[in-house]
Structures are given as C-alpha cells and as structure tokens.
Subunit: 626 residues, 2 copies
C-alpha cells in the first residue's frame, strides 16, 4: 500500500478527535444518544471526509458530489460533527442534538441538506447507496457513494439484497464501509470481530472486500482510496473497531449502547481527547472535479392510448411509457414480475432507465429512494401483496419525503386461482397509514393513465393500485382526474343510497346498479379513485342526497382500506356508512366466484342494497310494482 | 459417494415421472398454475420423499416426523402429487387443484395437514425451516427439516437472514435444497446456473454446500442422505435443474413460467412421460424411528407482580416470565433489542427457550412461525416500528393461522428524542389489517400482565403494543381483562362526551379529565385496551350517554389505528367521532413536548374538549361559574 504522509495523518487524527469530542458533548447535553457508536467510526469518517471524498459542501445533493449515507443512523452525532468540520453545520448547533425544532435529530433525516435518505431503521442504507450509485452512473457522474454500516445491521437481509444488486450491476462507484465493533445493542453481534466472515460474505456477493484496522489511519486511507479508484465492481472496507474507542474506560465495554456519558465522565473524556490534539488545521475539502452535463429536457407527452377493455395493470405499463417519453427523469424498477405488472413495456421502450431488481422488494424500494435522491422519479412495481415486504423501507421513505412512486398489481381476491398468498388485501392499509402519502386506485385504462401522470407530477410518495383482470372502459380521454378527486358515475333524484367503490368493485357496483335499476331501485355510484386524500365534501354531498347512507365496497380486508377512508372523511356528519369487504381468509378459485363468495361481487351488492332499502321503508327508493 | 441400488433408482424415476404427470394434468385441468416449476424439482422431491425423509403420513405435524417446506410455493402441484404418492391426498383429488372449496389451493396453506406454513410469498420458507429445526431440537427429536427453495427466491434477503441464523445455531437438522433452474418469472435469474456462486454464498453463511445435477438421482440421493446425517451444521444441496424438465419442447424455455400446457400438448407430454415408466411400485414410507418423550406439563402460574409506576414494556418482560413459568410451550424471540423490550427477563429465566434472532426481523417472525408449527407458543418482540420489517411474513402468518404473538415496544411519538425512525406510528394499521388478528394495547403493568396471559391463551396471531415511558398504575390485580374488552375509567351522569384512548394517551386523557373537571367539564374516559376486536356495544352505550360524541386520542398516524377501529365499531349508529392523532411526520424531542406538539397530550385534549363543548351550547356539560 502507498504510504500516507505523516502530515495528513495528523490532520485526520485531529479531525477524528474532534468528532469524538463533539459526539460526546452533544449526547451528554441531550441526555441521550449513541456516543460509543459514533466513536467506533470516527477515524473512518475523518478519513472519508478529509482524505477520500470529493464533496460539494454548497450543494451536497449535486449528482457530481460524492455522497455519504450513514446507514448506522444512530451514529448521527458523528455525521453532524463531520459536517460541522466542513462548516455546513454551525459548530455551536451541535449541542442542540435531539432538541425539539433542531434539525439535528436523534437519527438523520433529509431535513438536513446533506442527508439523502432518513436512516435509523438499520440495514437500509446500502440499498439507498445502490440507487445513488446507479443514479450517478445514469447522470454521467464519476461521483462515488460511500455507505457506513454497522456490523450488527448486516444481519438484515436487505443488506444482502443490496449487496447482490451492487455486485450484479458491477457498481464500482459504490463503497461500503463496515464498522465492525463487535457489539450490538443488547449484546455481542453474531460475528464478533470475525473480519474474514464479513469478507467472505461480501466476496460471495460479488464485492472486493478489504479488511483494515478501523482505528489505523495508515490502513484506512489507502484502502478507501483504492476503493475510490475501483473500476471493477463495488468494494467493501471491513474495519475492525472498538465501540467507544477513545472514550476512556468504556471502550469495548458492553452495556454502553445508546447511553450518553454522565457529565463528569464526559468532561474527563473530552479533556483527555483534547490533550491528544496536534492542533493542525483541517485541509480544504476536495471538491468534485467536473460539472455534469445539464439534464435532458422534458419532451411533450405523446397522446394517451385509447383503451378498450383492458386490465388496469396493463394500462399502467402503457401509461408509464407515455410519462417516460415526456419526462426523462422517470425510471422504472421491477421485482421479477414485469410481465405481470406490465413494467416490461417501460423496459422495452427505455431499457437504459429500467432496473431489474429481481425478487428483492426491500432493495427495490431502497434503490428507488436512492434514485429519487439523484433527481430521478422512480416507479417501482410488484404485486401489491409483495410490496408489503418493503413496509419498513416505505415507512422510511415517507419520513424521507422521498419522491417515490409505487404500483401494486394483483389487488384483492379478484386475482382468483393463485390464492391468498398472492392477493393484495392489506396494501391500502399500509399505504394509507404512511404520512403524506397519496393513494390512487383507478378502475379503467383512461383513469390509470391519468393516475400515472398525476403520480409523476406529484412531489412525494404515491401508491397506485391496479387490478389483474380486464375491465371495460368507463371514461373518455378528455376526462379530468385529480389527486383528491372522485367521480359520480350514476346519479338520479331518487337514489336510495350511494355506493362508493374503486377498481374492480366499481365495475361490480355498476353491474349491481343495472340489476337494481331493473327492479326499480336506484343508487348513486361513486368512483373513489383517490383513496387518499379523499374528497370528503363530495362524499357528504352524495350521502345527503341519498338518505344519508353510503355503502362502501372494496376488494380489501375491512381494516385500513376504502371503508376506513370514507368513514374518516364523513365522520362527524351523521352519515351511516355500510361496508362490504373481504372478511375472512380467502381461498383459491375463479375470480368471479371469489368476488361473490367474499361478499363484494355484484350479487352481494344487490343483496346488500335490497336489505338496506327494505329495512328502511321510508327510504326514497322506488319499489317494483310486484 | 455410495452407490445407489439400481432398483431404488427405478422406483424414484417412476415416482418423479408420476409427479410430473400429475403436475401437468392438474394445472392443465385448472387452466392455471406452474407445471414447469414443478417439473424442475420433481426428481429432488421424489428422492426426498422415498429415499431420504422419515415421514409420519398419519401425523405429518408430529415433532418426530421429518418436515418438508415448499418454499417455492408455486410448485404446489408437485407437493400435492407427492402426498398423493403417500396416500394422504386421494389421487383423484389432484385435478381439483385451484378449484373453489378444494384445499389444494394455488399455493399451499395449512388447511392441509402436511403444510406447516403457507408459502407463495417467496423467500420465507427457510425461516420457517429454521423455526421447525430449532423446535425439533428443543423437543428432543432427531427429525430433519427439508426446505425446497427456488433459485430466484434466494434474491430475497430473508433467505440470508435464515441462512445466517441456521449457521449461527449450527442447525445440523436443517437441509436446504435449491432448485437452480436458472429462470425466474419474467426472465433469467441473476445467477443463472452458477452453482458455485450459490455454494459460496451458503458457505459464507456457515453452511456445507453440495452441488448436484438435480435430475440425476444417482447424485441426488447420496447428497441428500449425507445431508441428513450431518452433525456439524446446516447443509445446502444446490441442484442444477432445467425448468420444465421432462415436459417436451418447453424444457428450459423462457416464457413458460406460471403457464399450464394446452390440453393437446399436455396429452402428448403425459403420454411420453408414461412411456418412460418402469412400473415399479413405490417403496413403503420410512417412518420416524422413535416416539418423543411427552411434552412438559403445564405448571400453576406464579402470582402476578405488583407494579407501581412502570413502563408497559417492562411489565411485558415480567408477564412473559410469569406466563413462561406456567406454560412450557412459551418461548421468546428478540431482534437485538431485548434490553429495550425487556424480553431479556425471559431470557434470564429460561435461556433454553429464548432465541436471539439479532437484527433480522423477517427471520425472527418466520422462525417463530416454524416454532409455532412444532407446538410452541412464540412471543417475538422488537420496537413496534421494526416489526413492519416483517409485514409480509406477518401477512403469511395470518394466512397460515399461525399461533404467533408479537410485542411491539416504543410505540408512538412518546418515545421522544430518538425521532421518527424509531417511533411505531403505523403498527396498529399493520396488525389490525391482518385477518383474524387480535390487537391489545395495555396502559399499565397489570393490564399488560393480563394482555400477555390473554395472548398466550388465544389461539392465533396476537399483537401487544407497549410504551417506552413509565406510566402510573390504573388497575388492581383482581381486575379482569378480555379479548374484545374495554374499561370505563371515569363516568358521571353529566359527561359531555367520551374520550376513547389506550396506552400512553389514556394517561393523557386522565390528566385532561382532571383539569377539565376542575373547570366543571366532565367527560367519560374509556381504556380501549382491546383495539381488535373492539367492544362496539360498550362504545355505543358510552356515546349514547354522552351526547353521542366520542373523542379518540391515539399515539399513531390517523389511518388504521384506534380512530378507524372506533369509527368502524359505531358505524351506522349516528355517533360523532372526533379524532386526535399524529398528523405530520414528527421530530425528535422530549416525550411530553412531542405529545403536545402533535396534538395528543393532555393540553391538546383539554383544548379539543373545550372546543367541542363550547361549539355545542346544548351539550350537557357544566360550565364553570366564570
């Protein structure tokens, strides 16, 4: 290895010492936090920021700038102290750590300009790194992405999903740094300090893996620089460290995870650390060498496609192609079901903007978050039920306010014979619960096209739910859709109640309307294609006009879906909300039979409406002249 | 390798041929399904069932019996055909595949006596295998657990979580068989037929990995038998196969995933397969050698502990110790937060019934499912937010009707400084959406103890939500709790409305009650500790007595939690439901400040009640004599 000049070593030692001092000071001031987890990685971070990375402190999110993802988010004070060294965080702000209204939160969030994705749920940072690295490659940037992981978090399978993708895509611009301090929160890690085990694992997933002493800058700097120069594939630096290194007696001790030092101990430790300072000023930051070519321009959108009878999942594929033609930022990701979700059409049109993420939904979502942080607009799709695999990544995407679009196909029992394991029946609950999310559930090709465009233009997390089976067209190409909108599809002066449905059950409701009308019973029909936000005023207006009664019908379990959305929207207005949903664990069977068996098909709707109308003789329904 | 007698080879070849024939026949009859995915593994399964496993066809779930988990659940017809060979499934039933009311569903579920866990969401079977293997070890059984995986599903990180746990626990009784046919659903897999890559990965995670030709019984049988004899650790058989092997032209072709053969092609293929039969009768099944010692007897429960002010998470640990003393089937699993969830107390009391699952929640839940399938009652705990990591496993656990208990600690913004990444704010939405689930949310030590006992006695999936901060006692030791119950804690003849809360917000509501009472405003207070099922009648009764108004207060995002549960329970009754919940992405900060900042603390409740009471002058509230 090339020798590192002694002057640089002293500079970096001083930086590392200051990082430790600030981490101790901030956590003790906060009365909580993780000083020992910061201390184990202080030398690694000092080397990264002042001897390896090419950063743009003025524009940390520039695609030309190297990125740093702190996957072990609990070491946040270390991150904040590093950016204080760069002058981006005022040094005096460091002791506002964890205070209400300080952006220096307990775990990093993108409220800070140098944080790409929120971390703190372990094992997610490397996937974001994969997305950032792919994004840099696609943006024509030679920037590198560095991800600092804890050793304990490598127990998360999502780390290996990311590792395999990085290996498969030969992401030479991705460098993982594993802080192997051997101690988890509640005890030793599985692998302790077995660096070779880490190396074997990364190597088995297609990485170059280099072991170093994580407190020896003479080893760290050359290894990181070598990794930065890699042209062959991703590199993992596996660093043997001591938890709490430099913090006196507690170094290497169990029982110090997530515990700040008491004030007196902190004072002693800081004094001892200060005594080791060489008082060398830090070197200037290495800035990125080149500016990037300006990003491709938006193009006019092609005309939408006229759909006849079509599955909304297929219309999704077409719509994504159309959106992608207009907006070069749009990219797509698939979890090896692209022939079912029709994401394959986007791949056929723009192979250079498509990521095959294979059967690894957590990494698919994490990669999408990284791509979003490079300025792309990622659409990730799979079966609705399999997106639940990434629930925790989606939770973190919401906290990150990531500009992420998800499409879940094969919603509900209407998929039929494949059975319950393939049916998305709790996906609306998942996506509605996420803060600031938008949930769209189109019922025909035109509505799907509109929803995809709405998703592309909305800043933030949007979920689109599609259906497996073909459904007839409902809307003309000039129909306008909006986030927070709904459509009244059938209305008369004499409606006995309003049926609220979306997707497949909307078609069942329309069939029920037809049958009921034949029997002289009129009902209003609403397409609640925007399941979040919901147009409560329009729902209330419909209810008021139809005996204050709504009947929600959905291909979803009872909790968390359209029923809850509607009840929430009209709460407090005295509206009676009835609800048809899937109330047991379904079986395999033909789609139409399943819809009826689980009480959400046209027959079930007709029965429910008849029951409701007949139990209230005063209702304004017309009875057939029997 | 030991040579396999030619007679056995012929027997197994015949079995494999019949498995292929039945898989083709059943899927063609059903008009859907995955014959090619069945065909690639037919030789492996024939060898397993008739030359390797020791099965008890009369009691397939006996801990003494070897188990077979079909992780690649879409090969279900192969599984059903194998059990038909054993006489457990009537051969004529095989063509009811995927029909409504047939238990031979598109993907296997435990409606069938030989299925331990539902599969079909890929990458989950190996975790169940880990649990089954640990369970067998704990039951003193020398049974082996065989898990058949597809190659594509090894892209799921959960597979590597399971692999690492099996390696770490040296589960010599666990054998993974990987059907490397090189083709996923929508294209080639990442690793194609690179058997050495699979071997490297399994070896890196502590396994012995043996490569075989998956269509050569002379290689398969000795490898599986060697694996069955392993005393050192888990073994992976990595088998090179051809998708659709034996099915004529389509063998090895892309585009045949999940497609049945047309009737004429099926006829030709079946005729060709039949022509290869040696017409040797299958050998008798090898039954398990020994009966197990009877399971340990239930013991009387120790007295519950008198709790003063205590965090419910801590009371959870104590309650689990108490339950475990009485019921030897109770076991506990942790995701490296046992000192935060207090599962460490169970570990201290019964180390032999504790699993440290490290930071790998998917595998923790999957392992728990496997343990449940061996007759244990597993309690798995982590931070509430991190249980979302296992959302898809929980979905499959619900479909499996697994007897699984989860405890999520650190619910809501009341955790304070650690910030949003550590706050469980969508966990109620997740667990309420699961079919047949029970959701309990105790507010003091005694209620927690009761909820843990209720969970232990309830057959099925139960979620318990606990709080980080200490809360004062509310109940005496003689208080009775029930699944589906609630408690009215404050009531008078003059209550202006009813506040419904649980956990931390119940204490806030009680504080608000005190302050409001001082101002002459009386409110009813309900502890909705059973969030699913909900006692709708009691809620309605309270509403009726308090101006038809409920105010739900919860430390959760607005969707999917207590608010939705209450609105659903009183829907149709004209009750006005107001709702205080966390309506934005929260920050780090002191717990008490966060409760107020996000509108669910005592101050916010007082304001809300005042606003509601004042806007309805006719309400029966007493105003203070101003």
């Amino acid at each position: 290895m090339v020798e590192v000049p002694e002057g640089l070593i002293q500079v970096l030692e001083d930086v590392a010492t200051r990082l430790r001092i600030e981490s101790v000071r901030a956590t003790t001031a906060a009365g909580s936090g993780h000083p020992t987890s910061a201390a184990s990685a202080a030398d690694l971070v000092a080397a990264l920021f002042f001897a390896v990375m090419r950063l743009d402190p003025d524009e940390p999110r520039s695609p030309a700038s190297d990125r740093f993802v702190l996957s072990k988010g609990h070491a946040a004070p270390l991150l904040y102290a590093a950016w204080a060294e760069l002058g981006v965080v005022p040094r005096e702000a460091l002791t506002t750590l964890r205070a209400l209204d300080s952006d220096l939160e307990g775990h990093p969030t993108p409220r800070l300009p140098f944080v790409d994705v929120a971390t703190g749920s372990l094992g997610q940072g490397l996937s974001a790194g994969v997305g950032l690295a792919l994004g840099a490659r696609w943006r024509g940037s030679d920037a590198r992405i560095f991800v600092l992981l804890g050793d304990g978090e490598t127990a998360e399978g999502s780390v290996w999903e990311a590792a395999q993708m990085a290996g498969h895509e030969r992401l030479a611009n991705l460098i993982a740094v594993v802080d192997v301090n051997g101690l988890g929160q509640s005890g030793p890690t599985m692998l302790d300090h077995d660096l070779r085990a880490f190396q074997r694992r990364f190597a088995a997933f297609g990485w170059t893996a280099i072991a170093v002493d994580g407190h020896d800058l003479r080893q760290i700097v050359p290894a990181l620089r070598r990794a930065r120069q890699s042209r062959r594939g991703p590199t993992a630096i596996v660093a043997r460290t001591v938890k709490g290194q430099g913090l006196g007696d507690i170094a290497g001790q169990e029982g110090w995870h997530g515990r700040p030092l008491p004030a007196d101990a902190a004072e002693r430790v800081i004094a001892a650390l200060e005594a080791t300072l060489h008082h060398v000023p830090p070197p200037p930051v290495q800035r990125p060498r080149a500016r990037l070519a300006s990003r491709p321009q938006e193009q006019p959108l092609p005309e939408p496609r006229h759909h006849g009878e079509v599955a909304t999942r297929e219309a999704y594929g077409d719509a994504l192609v159309r959106l992608g033609a207009g907006d070069p930022r749009v990219v797509a990701l698939d979890g090896d079901v692209k022939n079912s979700t029709y994401a394959e059409r986007f791949r056929a049109a723009y192979p250079e903007r498509f990521v095959e993420a294979y059967i690894a939904e957590q990494n698919m979502v994490g990669t999408a978050m990284g791509l979003a942080a490079q300025g792309f607009v990622p659409f990730a799709s799979s079966f609705a039920c399999f997106l639940t695999r990434a629930a925790d990544q989606l939770r973190m995407a919401a906290i990150s306010r990531s500009n992420l679009k998800l499409c879940g196909s094969h919603a509900g029992v209407s998929i039929g014979e494949d059975g319950p394991s393939q049916m998305g029946l709790e996906d609306l609950a998942l996506f509605r619960a996420l803060p600031e999310s938008v949930v769209l559930y189109p019922a025909d090709g035109t509505a799907t096209d509109a929803c995809v465009l709405l998703a592309g233009r909305h800043q933030g997390l949007v979920y689109i739910r599609t259906t497996r089976m073909k459904t007839p067209p409902l809307y003309g190409l000039d129909e306008a859709f909006a986030v927070g909108g709904l459509k009244v599809l059938r209305a008369s002066e004499r409606d006995a109640l309003t049926i609220v449905a979306a997707g497949i059950t909307l078609h069942e409701a329309l069939a029920a309307h037809h049958e009921l009308a034949g029997a002289g019973i009129l009902v209003r029909i609403i397409d609640l294609y925007s399941a979040k936000p919901v147009d409560g005023a329009a729902l209330l207006e419909a209810a008021r006009a139809t005996g204050n009664r709504l009947l929600v019908v959905e291909d979803h379990y009872p909790a968390g879906g359209l029923g809850d959305a509607v009840r929430e929207a009209v709460a407090g207005a005295g509206v009676i909300v009835h609800h048809l949903a899937v109330r047991e664990i379904p079986r395999s069977g033909p789609p139409r039979k399943l819809l009826e068996r689980y009480g959400i098909g046209r027959g079930a709707i007709v029965s429910a409406v008849r029951g409701l109308v007949e139990e209230t003789p005063g209702a304004p329904a017309q009875r057939p002249a029997a």
